[in-house]
Symmetry: C2
Subunit: 453 residues, 2 copies
């Protein structure tokens, strides 16, 4: 029997956003009944780790499980795995749950939709063939791992972060890897062409074949994939990964009458409230807002999911928290390089109507005379009139992540390139050059614009 | 014969600040006659690298020389080594230079004083004995290197950055190392006691003996050092390093009537102008201003020196540039840990009249499930009423430097802990935890203060 006095919170989707929401809700309301519902058979796991399991860097998929069952017990979170939310009745504040053949109506006081996203696949002939995969779940990962055992040649459609991480995974197992990207450069959401070309050169040096500005017209093979036709030519392949983005899972929300935003994500306000009272949304299924433009955007990053989830959980449990928005700060590591980005690329900024000016510098990660220093290339994008930093892209052998975070903070705080160029950075010979590359890139950008007024 | 039309710039002191000033002056005025004067026999070198040569991580002292002679030729910089500036005559705008027995009067249009600092040694009996060293110059380094060849036990007086780097250097050569610090914790200028104790534990695990709150009363030995008396007890030593700070070299400036500030550094305005027309100062001999308090401070860091030098060089050559001030961001690496700090420690802040609140978090540098992650501990210091971040201290196995830079930017921009706790950080399993430690520490600090108004 449920306690009539305690708040009942149901969370649909139990990965990054859902689990974080549940934990935050528990910390906000010690007495709430909190139920996590997931269609998957596993407790919450890190999707971001899947390519690194496939690369052999993480021993097992089981390692990605975030918390053992004891955590859920300690936090008094009820988890229903392999359970699907069929529909929401906002008037009666009920959600219909289906587990096997069983269907139940569950009442909620607060409902959090964290249904995530599903791989988007472009309409290519032959996608249904054996050996063609998308990578989203542990099950996807297991199927790919099995297929990799006998694979010699892989084609990756889409050169985003997951595409690059999969290219790395294949090369680690001695599998030939060809990335095919429709747009003119790899990582188009994160890098401008100049930076993307620098990253591409490194990937090519590590044995990845990269085709940009190239569409995949067909997947060939009798039942099982044997190759693809891309840009008119044939590429042999016994495994194909389609990593061309993900679409928010909004069907459940839509059917309940929850408003969907222009990005196809669930529309939320800064408290993660949807258009319907007591229904919240968080994670890959939900829209966020750009800290730079105020416009809705789909971030679809693990970092954004947990931050949204925390806010949704606090509010759903009767607390007060707001989510300020995103800069889409992202980073990856493939082979021996790290690639990161925050804010807007020049192309994105220009498309949004910003004038842009940029500064690029190539430097080292340690003092010139200290052994083991690695190349690092930093690009700072700024708005010429205000001088405001609006984006940063970095490729380097080490120390990229926290530079992206520093740039993200600078962008969030409205810092100008003149300020960033003179910021008080630190240095020691084993750890950096005397002049920090981020400040030098800002200085280069500053030289291309009018002096500050 | 000098060209009567071209600007004559003399720079006294040719290391970090002086060389940077010369290069910036050349870029500002292509026709200026630029002379660098140094009492040392070498071209500019990186002092910060000296302990790492002694540790054996950098092959030779010669590697620390910043530029080959060809650079000076290309930049048309005249360098006079082993030349001392004896006096300045500001009325006639002349400086008296002494090289061997030769004395010359040189006219200047702009003069830059970048005379650096000299080791400060406390009044301890026996400092003159053989085997007692300070570390400032390449010659100091060479003497220490020679002494290390037969040394078995070292005592280091003063547990600042150089002290710790020397402890590391000694241990790398199997020499016993004891650090003796008068103040209650190591790195008192950079760390609060809680963080210092965490750092101390790591150093101790690496075989360094650490005595805090302990004064060295005497250096023992017949001619050559045999030990020290510290805190009443005797410590055997065949080598002693005194690393108890440095005092600005201001004698030349003082004699010329240049105003000295309350920190004993040469007083400068944001353009690095001293109290006397056409005389500039930069580097360890000059004062800077705290970005947090506006108060004069002695930074004495290589990063500050080059930034001051650049501003002085631009202004001395007829350009316009300002130096915004410092946060004393500093980092070092010793053994396998990195220690960094920016802004004010809690102790420093309280001494300056700030109320403080802090948040500390211990995290990992990679996802929990990704192999090789290292411990990292982050402390954020904030002002409780405004919520403004005023300091940050970090100890970790990797990725400390750029976190300090991120915190430095946050402090410079007046960021609050509420903002920093929600900043848009990036993550990938090999590179960070999902929740960035700097944001978690800020969140912890935020929980200890009133909600934002």
């Amino acid at each position: 029997m449920r306690d009539a006095m305690s708040r009942r919170i149901i969370i649909i989707g139990a990965n990054a956003a859902g689990l974080e929401a549940a934990s935050a809700a528990r910390k906000t309301d010690r007495d709430a009944e909190i139920t996590l519902v997931t269609g998957e058979p596993h407790l919450a796991y890190s999707r971001c780790g899947l390519p690194y399991v496939l690369a052999g860097e993480i021993p097992s998929f089981q390692d990605l499980i975030v918390f053992p069952p004891s955590y859920y017990k300690m936090m008094r979170l009820e988890v229903r795995t392999e359970t699907h939310a069929v529909s929401i009745n906002p008037k009666e504040k009920k959600v219909e749950l289906k587990s096997g053949r069983e269907i139940e109506q569950e009442e909620y006081d607060s409902l959090i939709i964290s249904t995530g996203a599903s791989p988007f696949t472009p309409p290519i002939k032959g996608l249904e063939k054996r050996g063609v995969f998308t990578l989203r779940t542990i099950e996807d990962g297991m199927r790919i791992k099995e297929a990799m055992e006998n694979a010699k040649r892989a084609v990756i459609i889409g050169a985003g972060f997951i595409g690059i991480e999969m290219a790395h995974a294949f090369r680690e197992h001695g599998i030939e890897a060809t990335m095919v990207e429709l747009l003119p450069n790899i990582l188009p959401a994160a890098l401008d062409r100049d930076m993307a070309q620098a990253a591409q050169r490194v990937l090519e040096e590590r044995g990845v074949r990269v085709l940009t500005g190239t569409s995949v017209e067909e997947i060939l093979g009798e039942g099982k994939v044997e190759g693809v036709v891309a840009g008119g030519g044939r590429i042999e392949a016994d495994i194909v990964i389609v990593s061309t983005g993900a679409r928010p899972n909004t069907e459940l929300a839509r059917q309940a009458g929850v408003e969907i935003g222009p990005t196809r994500g669930i529309r939320v306000n800064p408290r993660m409230m949807t258009s319907i009272q007591d229904i919240y949304a968080a994670g890959d299924c939900a829209e966020s807002y750009s800290l730079l433009t105020g416009q809705p955007t789909l971030s679809q990053l693990g970092t954004t999911a947990v931050r949204m989830g925390r806010v949704a959980g606090i509010n759903a449990a009767g607390g007060y928290s707001t989510f300020p928005g995103v800069l889409s700060s992202a980073v990856t590591k493939a082979f021996d390089i790290e690639i990161g980005s925050t804010g807007l690329t020049e192309v994105q900024a220009q498309r949004l109507g910003f004038k842009t000016v940029s500064g690029v510098v190539t430097s080292k990660t340690r003092a010139r005379y200290y052994p083991g220093g690695k190349d690092i290339r930093v690009k700072v994008v700024a708005e010429p009139d205000s001088g405001r930093v609006i984006g940063c892209q970095i490729i380097g052998g080490e120390e990229v992540t926290q530079r992206i975070n520093a740039a993200s903070i600078a962008i969030q705080m409205g810092m100008t390139v003149w300020e960033l160029a003179k910021s008080d950075t630190c240095y020691a010979p084993p750890l950096n050059e005397t002049w920090e590359a981020l400040t030098l890139a800002s200085d280069n950008a500053a030289r291309r614009m009018k002096e500050p007024r």
